[in-house]
C-alpha cells in the first residue's frame, strides 16, 4: 500500500446523505478483478449515461471538480454492502480523502486497507466546511495533514480530527496488515490452543 502524504486539492461538496455502495459501484461490475481498475465505474449510473457519455449534471463531470481528490460528503457515506470495490473505485479514480459526519462502518474499515482516509467531523463543522467549499468553487482548496491531524479549508476553516493511532501509523507507513499481524503469531497460536481446550465442541466434526 502507498504511504499517505498530506493532500491538498479542490474538494467536491456532496451534500446527499446515505451515499450507498450500490451508487458508488453498482453490483454488476463486482466480478472483475481489482487489477482491472475500478475508477472507470465509480458512480457509474450517476456519472454516465447508458451509452457511456458523461451526465453533465453530475458534479464529478463539472469544472473545476474533475481534479478533486477530496470529497466533503454528508452523513452515512458508504453505507450498505461490504464491497471493498467501493473503495477501490474511489482510489482508482484518484480520491484520497472523504470527509463526512458518519460512515458506513464496513466502508470505514475498508478505506484504511486501500489508503483512503475517511475523516469524521461533527455535523455542524462538516456543513460549515462544505458550505465554504461550495461558495469558493475555483479556490475551494482543502488541505488534509494526517501527521498533524488537521484540515484547512476556504474562508479560514481550520480544525483537528481524530484517528485511531494504529490506523494512522499504518497509513503513514503504508504498512501491510497481514505482515503486521503475523508478528504476533506466537500469541495467536497460544490463544488458539487455549480456546480449543476451553471450547472443545468447536473442534472439527465429521459430518
Amino acid at each position: 500500500m502507498k504511504k499517505f502524504n498530506t493532500v491538498r486539492s479542490i474538494a467536491i461538496p456532496m451534500g446527499t446523505p446515505n451515499v450507498d455502495t450500490d451508487q458508488i459501484i453498482p453490483a454488476r461490475f463486482l466480478w472483475h478483478p481489482q487489477s482491472d481498475g475500478y475508477g472507470k465505474w465509480l458512480f457509474n449510473d450517476l456519472r454516465l449515461n447508458e451509452d457511456g457519455s458523461p451526465k453533465p449534471g453530475f458534479i464529478l463531470n463539472q469544472s473545476p471538480y474533475q481534479d478533486a481528490t477530496i470529497i466533503v460528503a454528508d452523513r452515512n457515506f458508504g453505507c450498505g454492502s461490504s464491497r471493498e470495490h467501493a473503495v477501490w473505485a474511489l482510489i482508482d479514480y484518484g480520491f484520497q480523502v472523504v470527509i463526512a459526519s458518519s460512515f458506513g462502518d464496513i466502508f470505514y474499515n475498508n478505506s484504511f486497507k486501500q489508503g483512503l482516509l475517511p475523516i469524521v467531523l461533527p455535523e455542524a463543522l462538516l456543513i460549515r466546511l462544505r458550505e465554504a467549499v461550495e461558495r469558493n468553487p475555483a479556490h475551494g482548496h482543502v488541505t488534509v495533514d494526517l501527521v498533524a491531524q488537521q484540515i484547512e479549508g476556504p474562508e479560514g476553516f481550520k480544525i483537528g480530527f481524530d484517528i485511531d493511532p494504529f490506523r494512522k501509523k499504518k497509513l503513514l507507513e503504508g504498512l501491510d496488515d497481514i505482515a503486521v499481524t503475523l508478528t504476533f503469531n506466537d500469541q495467536i497460536s497460544l490463544f488458539e490452543t487455549n480456546y480449543s481446550q476451553a471450547m472443545p465442541w468447536l473442534l472439527p466434526k465429521a459430518v
Binding site: Q23, L30, R83, E84, N110, P200, W201
Partner: protein
C-alpha cells in the same frame, strides 16, 4: 464484585487475543463464512504464498452469482462471472475448507446455511465478506460483515484488528399483533432511528416482542441491523435457540452439547449491565410496514401516505426527499395502498426461510397472482422442505415462479434484475437506487405483504386478506 457484562462484552472478551495501548484489539475469529464473492481472498493467498490458516473454521457456499433457474453453471454466459462460481470448488479443494457446492442440497445463501447447518452458534465471533452477516447474531453470536482485505486477513491469520464498538439495546415491549412480522419490526426500528442510527454500535435486541419471535424471525431482525447502520445485531440465546440448534449437523452432540450449554447459558446480558444507548419501542403498536423511498429509513406503516417535501424546512433534506420521490415515481400524499406493483420477489438472506415461505404461501393459497412473482428459497434444504409441504404447488398454481436458491434479485449479480422503471415488492433488505437494476424501484416488505401485493397488483395491508386479522 465484577461489573455486570452484556452479551456483546462477554463474546468480545472471550475472543480478545491482545489489546494495544491505543485500544485496537486483535480478535480471534471462530467461524469464517465465505461465498462466491470471496474469491479475491483465495487469489491473494495464492499470490503471496500464504495458507488458509484454519480450514476447519472456514465454511462456504456459492450464492451471489448462482443462477436460480437451473443448477447448470454453464448457463452463466460471461466467463468472468462463471469463473467466480466455478473457482470456488477449486479453491475449497486447494485450501481444504468445508464447502456446499451447487450440486449439494445444502447449498444456499450463506446466511441461511450457517444457522441451518448448526455452524453458527451462540457466543462465537463470526465474520463473512458480506454486510448481512449480522444475521447470525440471532443465535447469540457476535457476527459482522467485512471487506475483501479483511477476508484475506482472516484467511491468513484467523484474526481481525477491531476497535471495540459501542453498545445499544433496542427493547421492543409488548407482543406483536396477528399479521405483524419480524420484518415489520426491523423496518419500524430503522424508520425510528434512521439508516445511520446504529453507526458504530452493536445492537442487542431485547424485550418480550423480541423473545416472542421464532429463530427465523430473529434472523430477519438481526439481518437488517446493517440497514440501521449497526456493525452487528444480536439476540441473547434462550431455550428457543437451544431447541433450534439441537441435532443440527455441525452443532455439538452428546457430552460436547452439555459443555457447550454451560458456556451458552453464561452468555445473556446480566442485570445491571449498561449500554451506551437505549431505545424502546412498543411492539403492540407496530403494523405491517413498507419502504417508499431509496433508503431503508424511508419506511412507514401500510396505512400511511407518501410524505410531502413541502413539509420539510431544511433545504438539503427537502431536496433529498424530492430526489427520492422522483426516482421512485411517487407523488406526495399518495396512499401506499394505491401504489401499483410490477413484480414481486420473495427471497434473500432476510426472508427466504421456511417460515417466510409458509407465510407467503398462506396468503397465496387458492388465489392467483395479478403480476409476475417469484419465490427463491434460501437453501436447497428449504426448497425440499417447502416441496414436501406442497408449498411449491400453491405458488405454481397461483402463477408464481419457483426457483433454486441463491441471492437472486436482492442484488442481481446473477442477472435476476428488474427492467428500468419497474416497481417491485421485495422481501430483500435494500431499496437503494439501482439496487435491483438500473432505474428499478424497490419497496421492502415482509413475505406476507409481498404475496398480498402479488395477489392484488398493488400494496395492501395483508391483514385485510386474512380472516381474523383485519385491523
Amino acid at each position: 464484585m465484577a461489573l455486570a457484562k452484556t452479551l456483546f462484552e462477554k463474546i468480545w472478551d472471550r475472543h480478545t487475543i491482545l489489546q494495544q495501548s491505543d485500544g485496537s484489539t486483535l480478535l480471534h475469529i471462530a467461524r469464517h463464512l465465505v461465498h462466491d464473492g470471496s474469491h479475491a481472498g483465495f487469489r491473494t493467498l495464492r499470490e503471496r504464498g500464504l495458507k488458509l490458516r484454519r480450514p476447519d473454521c472456514t465454511f462456504g457456499t456459492p450464492d451471489h452469482y448462482v443462477p436460480t433457474t437451473t443448477r447448470d453453471m454453464a448457463t452463466i454466459k460471461e466467463e468472468g462471472r462463471r469463473n467466480v462460481v466455478t473457482s470456488m470448488n477449486a479453491n475449497a479443494k486447494e485450501f481444504g475448507m468445508t464447502m456446499f457446492g451447487l450440486d449439494d442440497i445444502r447449498q444456499g445463501i450463506i446466511h441461511v446455511v450457517g444457522p441451518e447447518q448448526g455452524i453458527s452458534q451462540p457466543g462465537l465471533v463470526i465474520v463473512c465478506g458480506d454486510s448481512h452477516t449480522a444475521t447470525h447474531g440471532a443465535l447469540g453470536a457476535l457476527a459482522f460483515g467485512i471487506g475483501a482485505s479483511e477476508v484475506t486477513h482472516v484467511m491468513a491469520t484467523q484474526t481481525l484488528w477491531q476497535t471495540k464498538p459501542k453498545s445499544m439495546r433496542i427493547t421492543v415491549k409488548g407482543q406483536l399483533t396477528a399479521g405483524v412480522t419480524a420484518k415489520d419490526v426491523i423496518l419500524a426500528i430503522i424508520a425510528k432511528i434512521g439508516a445511520a442510527g446504529g453507526t458504530g454500535h452493536v445492537i442487542e435486541y431485547a424485550g418480550s416482542a423480541i423473545t416472542g419471535l421464532s429463530m427465523e424471525g430473529r434472523m430477519t431482525l438481526c439481518n437488517m441491523s446493517i440497514e440501521a447502520g449497526a456493525r452487528a445485531g444480536m439476540v441473547a440465546p434462550d431455550e428457543k435457540t437451544y431447541a433450534y440448534l439441537k441435532g443440527r449437523p455441525y452443532a455439538p452432540s452428546g457430552k460436547a452439547w452439555d459443555e457447550a450449554m454451560t458456556y451458552w447459558r453464561s452468555l445473556p446480558t446480566e442485570a445491571g449491565a449498561t449500554f451506551d444507548k437505549e431505545i424502546e419501542l412498543d411492539g403492540d403498536e407496530i403494523i405491517p410496514m413498507m419502504t417508499w423511498g431509496t433508503s431503508p429509513e424511508e419506511a412507514g406503516p401500510i396505512n400511511g401516505v407518501v410524505p410531502d417535501p413541502a413539509d420539510i424546512s431544511d433545504p438539503e433534506k427537502r431536496e433529498a426527499l424530492q430526489h427520492s420521490l422522483d426516482y421512485m415515481g411517487l407523488k406526495p400524499g399518495m396512499h401506499f395502498t394505491d401504489i401499483t406493483v410490477d413484480k414481486v420477489f420473495i427471497g434473500s438472506c432476510t426472508n427466504s426461510r421456511i417460515e417466510d415461505i409458509r407465510a407467503a404461501a398462506a396468503v397465496v393459497k387458492g388465489r392467483k397472482a395479478k403480476i409476475w412473482a417469484m419465490v427463491v428459497p434460501g437453501s436447497g434444504l428449504i426448497k425440499a422442505q417447502a416441496e414436501a409441504e406442497g408449498l411449491d404447488k400453491i405458488f405454481l398454481d397461483a402463477g408464481f415462479e419457483w426457483r433454486y436458491s441463491g441471492c437472486s434479485m436482492c442484488v442481481g449479480m446473477n442477472g435476476d434484475l428488474l427492467n428500468e422503471g419497474e416497481r417491485s415488492a421485495s422481501t430483500s433488505n435494500r431499496n437503494f437506487v439501482g439496487r435491483q437494476g438500473r432505474g428499478a424501484r424497490t419497496h421492502l416488505v415482509s413475505p406476507a405483504m409481498a404475496a398480498a401485493a402479488a395477489i392484488c397488483g398493488h400494496f395492501v395491508d395483508v391483514r385485510t386478506l386474512n380472516p381474523g386479522q383485519e385491523p
